[in-house]
């Protein structure tokens, strides 16, 4: 796994962005940027050569699921690995995210171990 990969963290709460950013740094990923909703994130993704997207679901403006759909609809981003980190925990939503092409799903509240596990699993699969 390339520790220098460029990661975009999308969450409407700055505190959650900071937590994820710190956890990623602990895992060795220091090249992170932040956005507070899908509308801010999408242009960054389209122009920024990101390697990985970590996004919340429920955000004002553009939600995470809409961002995921927009990413999958963009030929340049279609293969971008996406991890959803969200409090949304209805079964149908998880299925919806899976169908929209999410690569991993972490429910809040989560632990550092869970985040690490899901990230390494995603890149194992992407790499293979």
């Amino acid at each position: 796994m390339n520790k220098n990969m460029k990661i975009l963290i999308v969450d409407d709460f700055s505190t959650m962005r900071r937590i994820i950013k710190n956890l990623l740094r602990d895992l060795g990923f220091t090249n992170t940027q932040e956005a507070d909703d899908g509308n801010t994130a999408l242009p960054m993704l389209q122009s920024g050569n990101f390697d990985f997207l970590v996004t919340d679901w429920n955000m004002p403006g553009m939600t995470g699921i809409d961002l995921l759909r927009a990413v999958r609809a963009d030929p340049n981003l279609v293969k971008l690995p996406v991890l959803m980190v969200t409090a949304e925990s209805k079964r149908e939503q998880i299925i919806e995210a899976a169908q929209a092409g999410v690569n991993g799903y972490v429910v809040k509240p989560f632990t550092a171990v869970t985040l690490e596990e899901k990230i390494s699993k995603i890149f194992e699969r992407v790499g293979s």
Binding site: N22, R91, V106
Partner: protein, 241 residues
């Protein structure tokens, strides 16, 4: 009542009319009308009238209840303010804590990496592998490290104290949220009263499948939710993830 009894009542009515006894006339007339088939209808009208009056009074009483006015004009807007304040307090606390942790982590890392470096030399010293010059260097490093440890420990203590103090919101937000819970109960009571007055059956609430429910809250029906990350993993693996 058979026709004989009715006839007797009619005769008495005529008699009372002739003698001009109005009170008796009214009593017998209403008795007759109440007992006739038309009387059932008039009883029904009376009952409808009574219910209407009661409903009218109940609604008036409800509208005149000063508590309703107070709830709508003052307490609910106040509650919004209070809850916004809870958000800003918890956010401030989270940010203070995060800043302290972000400032503390590199200090801990610094101590760790220096200790590891010295530990290598220390191991060599224990094995008598160090030259005199190397030993001098090691003692100098050790001296510096002890000084650094004292400084970093003081700094870390300061950051941890910041984390400690940032938890003071819990007591205050707890009190504020409890006030708002009391208000919600009051509003609930009034709404129940209103529903009782109208006496109407409310349609069963339909769950909106598209609505985002947010965090799972114990004791609240939020539809078919997963129970933690293991459930999510099971669900996803059942979908071939």
């Amino acid at each position: 009542m058979d026709s004989g009894e009715r006839l007797a009542l009619a005769r008495e009515l005529v008699q009372q009319l002739e003698s001009g006894n109005e009170a008796e006339v009214t009593r017998i007339a209403s008795l007759m009308s109440a007992l006739s088939s038309d009387g059932v209808e008039s009883k029904l009208f009376q009952e409808v009238g009574r219910l209407t009056r009661e409903l009218h009074e109940a609604i008036n009483e409800f509208l005149l209840d000063p508590r309703i006015n107070e709830l709508a004009r003052v307490e609910i807007p106040d509650a919004s303010e209070r809850l916004s304040y809870v958000i800003s307090m918890t956010e401030k606390s989270a940010n203070t804590t995060l800043s302290a942790v972000e400032a503390g982590l590199p200090l801990a890392d610094d101590l760790g990496s220096q200790a590891r470096a010295i530990s290598v030399q220390w191991g060599r010293f224990c094995n008598r592998e160090l030259s005199v010059d190397e030993f001098r260097e090691l003692s100098r490093d050790l001296g510096g490290f002890l000084e650094l440890t004292a400084t970093r420990s003081k700094q870390l203590h300061g950051h941890l104290t910041d984390v400690l103090m940032a938890q003071d919101f819990q007591d205050l937000t707890g009190q504020i949220i409890r006030q708002v819970i009391t208000l919600v109960h009051d509003v609930e009571d009034k709404l129940v009263q209103l529903v009782r007055i109208s006496g109407s059956k409310l349609p069963e609430k339909q769950k909106d499948a598209k609505k985002l429910e947010g965090p799972v809250i114990p004791g609240i029906d939020q539809g078919d939710t997963v129970n933690g990350q293991d459930d999510v993993d099971d669900l996803l693996s059942s979908l071939g993830f």
